[in-house]
Symmetry: C2
Subunit: 482 residues, 2 copies
């Protein structure tokens, strides 16, 4: 047997300590903003029933779900059933990479991994009705999984940070979710992001206005959504490929290309009641948003479409110039909860993509330098004094006192072998630990302390003296980082 | 089509806001203790290659893995292959619930959901060798998944909180991981837990001493592990069923039943070098642990076996009287990393089971009363003044000032509809929100504030006045909770 493969599976990653600290730094800030806005935390299982997920994300979404194999006894029947299915004429569907058997999957799998945080929210609202407030404001920061082709800032396992408000039609909720998302980005140090806004009802009205049949509406919107990526000519080709008449396609693209402002669109669609209603909603959202963090970043963009099928009203997308694709997006989806509950419940949300935010923060060096949180490493010079070193470490860890940067206890690492002071200082230096403490041979209750901050070694310190010195060091490190 | 099922899949749960707050309260304390002990955070993907997981957890573990269906083109071949496998004579294996096809699974699945946090750690150590310190102390708090039968405190999706030290043979690391685990429980408010310790090498020596063949050693240890659950007679039957001679089984159970202290075992196995070496290690661990939080809870128990196959040295288990099963456990596993790296690396860890800790904390009412963190709900009396209410909320959320209980911003919920003061106060009361703020018709920059704490309504407050009152309220709530 060869040496086993030890890299994480395709599109997934191991987060080493530095990665986790950066991720935690970012999610703590996002969580803080969401909580300040009165959103309450929700968490849902990693897997959902497959039929909860299927049909919610469009055809492509269905194919990108990770599906979990049925277990035990039912597996035998499932294999036989799937095999019989494959033997049927026409059962094989030609996919991008040859023959595939999507129709066989639901027989073999009963669960699917979470694909986004919105469908689980809709299910939760239906399941826990009555236990939740009539206006339910929740945030959720959890991973989702998509069997997509990995790329820059694009993974098969990635975190989303979502806020949603369920149960309210007032357009103030659009301003609330967009404002919270914008404030997250501002507090992380972003100032140059653009928050584009549009309205699905307006897109529909435009499609209608251009003489495109209602049955082709979704096709037209999917094509328009690619304007950013494939340009005017690409979209024109795609519209034709989807059976939309050349004349209608040209009219659509002309409005998309020329109507730069909300006023221009309003004038161009003066005769469409549907368009005017959507524009009134957009105006209301923009007015509310003017008192939030979203204000400085918001702009109307008639070409914004958002891919996901479930949006019904305003839609948002946030991006920075130096990353293709978005940092997040959202909008109103008044029909999704109804798919689970049997009656429509209005809802609106915003989702920030953690991985893309992290990619840009890494490239722009936006992390504070003091994310490393180990205050000291301790070791005895001779292994024989290990118990005394452990006792010293334990007392430091429990030393009560105000530590700069929160009330977190002192973090003390014990090196489990006898170590010479020079080697210990080198160890501290190499691993980003701020100080080294060692017990001279035979020492009990006393240690020598070297702090990286000033390069000074203090000898014969009691636990209390050492604790005070380590706290002072953290204060100074924090100050110099500001 | 009937109404879809909206409950979470079997053995998984939705965590509503109160649940998440309780879980976060507990994991924050655990994380703080782990960090104070110098452990660094690690996170690994939810899924691993199936061959990373298979063969690490014993036969039962292999069967309890959630497996992910292969995707796209390879699925067709996999279905055909699995079907052909089923047609082979003897391919069907009789399981507890009838026919199963475990042999067909690896053809149909390429990934498996994380089953514990230890095997992923071993893989990470092999994959990132050189990037990690030679003694790697990591903590990891993440969910794992097992297709087990759900029960009290037993789920198919559950969190583990692990600390491990990789790369050190000193028995001080046993004391470090057990000490950290014990301190977590103490800081959560547990004082009555028992931390049992034993040694796999000692168990082997006892098995050998009783005349049981080396080939039956694992069987004997698995049977002994059930002593708690099925009693002496049950274990005796199981030993016989596993082909161990009645006389040897009786000798084994007699040592297990009579040797209550380490000294007694030491005397009974005076002639076994293997036993004496294991006992020396246990004595060393107990000596080191005497200066840690583990000390008051530790006791030797020769019957402790721990189910998992990979332990090689000291083993631990922690439990409270009012919950069957354990709150966690751990031990030394010097061979596991070698399965990935090709050379052995010593390792030792402790895993706390979050769900079981939460079950006991809920039953014993160990949560602080002020986990709810919304400081106020705000609304305009008339919908027309919604924008002024939003502006007031936004200013409160950004109001800078020291807030008792950390520097978290004030948390202000906005009710997105015009609401009468009486109804708003009722809403606050019902949803555990500490105060209600409302804007009288036409008001701008001024609000009325009702605080639950004293039942008083203050009128005509500026943002700064309201912020100060809300901070004071949080201080008082926190005080009265202590």
């Amino acid at each position: 047997m060869g040496k086993p493969i030890t890299t994480p599976p395709k599109g997934s990653r191991d987060f080493l300590p530095r990665d986790v600290r950066q991720r935690t730094y970012v999610t703590d800030i996002i969580r803080g903003v969401f909580q300040a806005h009165g959103f309450a935390p929700l968490e849902t299982p990693a897997f959902e029933r497959l039929d909860t997920l299927l049909g919610k994300y469009g055809e492509e979404g269905d194919q990108l779900l990770f599906k979990i194999l049925v277990r035990g006894e039912p597996l035998v029947a499932a294999v036989r059933q799937a095999h019989a299915y494959l033997a049927q004429p026409g059962a094989l569907v030609q996919g991008r990479s040859g023959e595939t058997a999507p129709g066989a999957e639901p027989m073999l799998a009963d669960l699917g991994l979470r694909y986004d945080l919105t469908v689980p929210l809709a299910r939760v609202v239906a399941a826990h009705q009555g236990k939740l407030p009539s206006v339910f404001k929740r945030y959720q920061i959890q991973p989702v999984w998509r069997a997509d082709t990995p790329g820059r800032g694009r993974f098969r396992e990635f975190y989303q940070c979502d806020v949603d408000i369920v149960g309210a039609t007032s357009k103030v909720v659009e301003a609330e979710v967009a404002g919270a998302a914008a404030e997250c980005l501002e507090r992380l140090g972003f100032s140059d992001f653009k928050l584009r806004i549009n309205h699905r009802g307006l897109l529909r009205a435009i499609v209608e206005h251009c003489g495109i049949a209602a049955s082709s509406e979704a096709d037209a919107i999917v094509a328009v959504d690619k304007l950013d990526k494939i340009g005017v000519e690409g979209v024109e080709r795609e519209l034709q490929a989807r059976g939309i008449a050349a004349e209608a396609a040209r009219r659509l693209l002309s409005i998309m290309g020329e109507a730069k402002s909300l006023a221009a669109v309003k004038a161009a669609l003066a005769g469409s009641e549907r368009a005017q209603a959507a524009i009134a909603e957009l105006e209301s959202v923009l007015d509310f948003a003017s008192v939030t963090a979203a204000h400085a970043h918001l702009s109307f963009d008639v070409t914004l479409a958002r891919g996901l099928g479930y949006y019904t009203g305003c839609i948002f997308e946030v991006a920075v110039a130096d990353l293709a694709g978005s940092l997040g997006g959202g909008g109103r989806y008044d029909g999704l909860v109804g798919m689970f509950l049997g009656k429509d419940v209005p809802a609106c949300g915003f989702s920030l993509g953690l991985e893309r935010i992290l990619v840009v923060m890494e490239e722009r060096k936006m992390y504070p330098p003091d994310l490393e949180r180990v205050d000291a490493v301790i070791a005895p010079v001779e292994e024989h004094d290990m118990k005394a070193a452990l006792a010293f470490a334990e007392q430091l860890r429990r030393a009560v006192g105000e530590v700069a940067g929160g009330n977190a206890a002192l973090s003390v690492d014990l090196l489990p072998k006898g170590t010479q002071p020079g080697k210990l200082r080198k160890h501290a230096d190499e691993h980003g630990i701020a100080a080294a403490l060692w017990l001279e041979p035979g020492a009990i209750d006393r240690a020598s302390l070297w702090t990286k901050h000033d390069g000074v070694t203090r000898k014969d310190l009691s636990v209390n003296d050492a604790a005070e010195a380590l706290r002072e060091q953290r204060r100074l490190t924090k100050q110099s980082a500001q």
